[in-house]
């Protein structure tokens, strides 16, 4: 059974139909990429899945359970974590604190535990901090553990967002243009990271403009244009799909696609 299932999902803002009757499935352990020109409705679809936008019609289910209409934090608890296109870190918290916020929902510490610093609270704080540091280490951010998110280089902020998302212990990770603004080396590292997360069994839904990255890591690709799904299939299929080339890539860019 599919892990995430979107069935005839539409999202309307006033007169604008940002997402129109989009359906697709995401299987466990799969990396599915959503591509499409700017304004195609990719991020809107993300926001619908994570509960930031209530959907206008259709249904979204995670593991067969409907999740549309749930508040964002409930959806996070059900196992969907995300990053944002325009990085949304807690700018004036340290990197390690940012990651520890990701552990918020599954920590057992109550207010009074924290207020009286009970043994239980201290133990949990220590172990969560330890895990946060391990996550930072995994993403190569140990050096910046004590720095404010704002003080970190841009590329590392993107990685810190992924670390924070991973700390929520997700089954499904939504990455919104994780390669935007990264240099070639950073993109290469990102690709390795995504591959590693996939190997560990994480399911990933990816929005990305960098075709080389998309073609390399994706199992399948969904193409959106003007809010509608215009194509779906393996990278090879999508790459040669004439509608995609026409609507999204334009004739000039098709050469690059072929060589990618």
């Amino acid at each position: 059974m599919a892990l995430l299932e979107l069935a005839h999902v539409s999202k309307r803002f006033g007169g604008l139909l940002a997402v129109s009757d989009v359906s697709f499935n995401l299987d466990r352990g799969e990396i599915l990429s959503m591509i499409g020109p700017n304004g195609a409705g990719k991020t809107t679809a993300f926001n619908c899945v994570t509960g930031l936008f209530p959907i206008t019609s259709g249904s979204i289910t995670l593991d067969g359970e409907p999740i549309s209409g749930l508040p964002p934090h409930r959806i996070t608890k059900l196992g969907i974590a995300r990053t944002f296109q325009n990085i949304r870190l807690f700018a004036f918290m340290t990197a390690v604190d940012n990651v520890m916020v990701g552990a918020h929902w599954w920590m057992k510490e109550r207010v009074w535990d924290g207020a009286f610093r009970t043994g239980r609270a201290r133990r949990e704080e220590r172990s969560v901090e330890q895990r946060a540091l391990e996550l930072l280490d995994l993403l190569g951010l140990s050096r910046y553990a004590g720095s404010y998110a704002r003080e970190m280089p841009y590329g590392l902020q993107r990685r810190l967002e992924i670390a924070r998302a991973l700390a929520t212990q997700p089954r499904l990770l939504l990455l919104d243009e994780p390669a935007a603004g990264l240099n070639t080396q950073e993109k290469k590292e990102l690709m390795q990271l995504i591959a590693r997360l996939r190997d560990e069994g994480l399911t990933i839904l990816l929005i990305e403009h960098d075709m080389r990255l998309v073609m390399e890591v994706s199992h399948r690709i969904v193409v959106l244009d003007h809010g509608e799904k215009i194509a779906e299939g393996s990278p090879a299929d999508v790459r040669t799909n004439p509608r995609v080339i026409e609507a999204y890539l334009g004739t000039g860019a098709s050469n690059e696609m072929q060589s990618a």
Binding site: L52, E109, V111, F116
Partner: protein, 522 residues
């Protein structure tokens, strides 16, 4: 010498910490200067009309010291001048690009030690040998004790800051605590001859410090601007009044009522919080402002016959434990409040560093990201409101007991503004800053201004300027709030002791949008 001790004498080079540490250093050295000076001015300070003694310049004018006392008093004056000038001169020097080296610190340290020793000698001569003619005449209305306490404290503090400057700069929080706590504990003893001052310390300083600590949770930690905070203060005070007065013929002890006041206020905090969950910034401020107006109005209208209408509730019980009768001795209120404040400070500090404290900050920084990271924005906000309100309710219960009569006028908008001004002045989101802010602002508003009338009248007689007499300084309260807010926003937007995060934030700024706005439901 072990490294740990050597580091005590080495300047700290950690960036960021350094600026804050220097601020703490400046605050402590100024406090030392003020205390040393206060010893001289104390007779004026506690009672403008007294023919006080101690080291008062008035006394020096009226009856100049003679004999060995002359030498002592003039040497003491030199140490006083050195220590008073230091915190003034240092920032000026830094502006001109020069700095004072270790030699200057060593001179000041010697001045502080000499001053301390001389004060002890003078105290011995005055109090033990009663060598009166040395320092003028003493009567029953003199303030030598307080003068000696303050001066000695000031010299000790000066010795600490100038003798171990790198340590003070490096370990600012600890240094601040070590410097302030003994003063807090011994304050009733220092001022035992000045009950008005004790009333101020318990009834204004401690109460407003608790209020500010509570509001700091809502505004500072969670970033929710609350302009109606006095409402919870009123709720706590009325709860105490209702359960400890002849009005309803219930007489519960204060130490139960402070918990009751806190519990009821936190309940109201959650009730107020609920309708404001989708609001942020200006809109939230306006709704809370409305709530702050409604509560005193309800009390005025004697709702459910509980509040006694415009006259309020009077005859509130004064607590008694065994031999301790609070009504005859304000120092017990003071010490109770000090203890309660310390407990509140420790608990709030712990919460700030715990899971919930992180969630508050995350909410303040980016509500959308916080929600998407698994934080329940609803309960987290309500928790901030409830905890903030509970501290306010606690303060309200004490307040009701201290003043023994509560009426709707006590909880007007000006209280909310005063509390907000305190945290803006001290440093939003930083507990140490809030404590400092409550010291400064309550001292100016509730001690200096009310006493200013008398002081200016005395001064007008001394220097023969009739215009100084008869000015009503207490009507300038709002000017002080306004000036404090404007000056802070222009010169030090983070407050006197900004939180570390706020300090960096000010360099970039920008407020995050609300979750509701993103969802399109606000």
């Amino acid at each position: 010498m072990p490294d740990r001790f050597r580091s005590l004498f080495r300047a700290d080079t950690g960036q960021g910490q350094r600026t804050r540490g220097n601020t703490v250093f400046w605050i402590l050295s100024s406090t030392a200067a003020a205390l040393v000076l206060m010893g001289w001015l104390l007779p004026w300070f506690v009672d403008a009309y007294s023919a006080g003694a101690g080291f008062s310049p008035q006394d020096a004018l009226i009856s100049p010291p003679t004999g060995v006392g002359t030498i002592l008093i003039y040497v003491l004056a030199v140490t006083m001048v050195i220590l008073v000038a230091s915190p003034l001169v240092e920032p000026l020097a830094r502006l001109r690009g020069t700095t004072f080296g270790r030699r200057a610190d060593r001179i000041r340290l010697i001045a502080a030690l000499v001053g301390f020793a001389l004060t002890v000698v003078i105290w011995f001569l005055v109090s033990v040998i009663q060598e009166e003619p040395l320092f003028g005449s003493f009567g029953p209305g003199t303030y030598t004790d307080s003068a000696v306490w303050l001066t000695m404290y000031g010299y000790a503090l000066a010795a600490l800051v100038y003798g171990a400057r790198p340590w003070v700069v490096g370990r600012q929080t600890l240094a601040f605590g070590i410097a302030v706590l003994p003063f807090g504990i011994f304050l009733p003893l220092m001022f035992h001859q000045a009950p008005d001052f004790l009333d101020w310390a318990a009834g204004s300083l401690a109460i407003y410090m608790l209020l500010a600590l509570g509001l700091n949770v809502v505004v500072g930690f969670a970033g929710l601007l609350d302009l109606g905070y006095a409402a919870f203060f009123a709720i706590g005070a009325y709860a105490c009044a209702s359960f400890a007065s002849p009005t309803h013929n219930i007489h519960w002890p204060l130490w139960i009522l402070i918990f009751l006041g806190a519990a009821i206020a936190s309940l109201f905090g959650a009730v107020l919080g609920a309708p404001t969950l989708r609001l942020r910034g200006d809109y939230l401020a306006i709704v809370t402002l409305g709530f702050g107006e409604i509560i005193p109005d309800l009390a005025t209208n004697n709702v459910f016959n509980l509040t006694g209408g415009p006259n309020g509730i009077s005859g509130i019980d004064q607590p008694k434990f065994w031999f301790l009768n609070f009504s005859t001795s304000p120092r017990w209120y003071y010490w109770s409040l000090l203890l309660v404040s310390l407990v509140v400070i420790v608990l709030l500090r712990n919460i700030e560093r715990s899971r919930v404290g992180r969630a508050w900050v995350a909410l303040r920084e980016d509500e959308v990201a916080a929600a998407s990271t698994g934080i329940n924005t609803t309960t987290t906000k309500l928790l901030a409101f409830a905890i903030g309100a509970s501290v306010s309710g606690l303060a309200g219960a004490f307040y009701g007991s201290i003043v023994s009569i509560v009426s709707p006028d006590d909880f007007s908008f000006s209280v909310s503004i005063a509390v907000l001004s305190i945290i803006v002045l001290g440093g939003i989101g930083n507990i140490a800053g809030v404590i400092l802010g409550s010291f400064i602002l309550t001292f100016v508003i509730f001690w200096v201004l009310p006493n200013m009338n008398e002081w200016s009248t005395t001064l007008s007689q001394t220097v023969h300027v009739p215009g100084l007499a008869g000015i009503d300084f207490s009507s300038y309260t709002y000017i002080i709030y306004g000036l404090a807010l404007i000056l802070m926003m222009l010169l030090r937007p983070g407050g006197l002791l900004p939180s570390r995060a706020r300090q960096i934030e000010l360099e970039s700024g920008g407020e995050s949008e609300s979750l509701a706005a993103v969802q399109g439901v606000a």
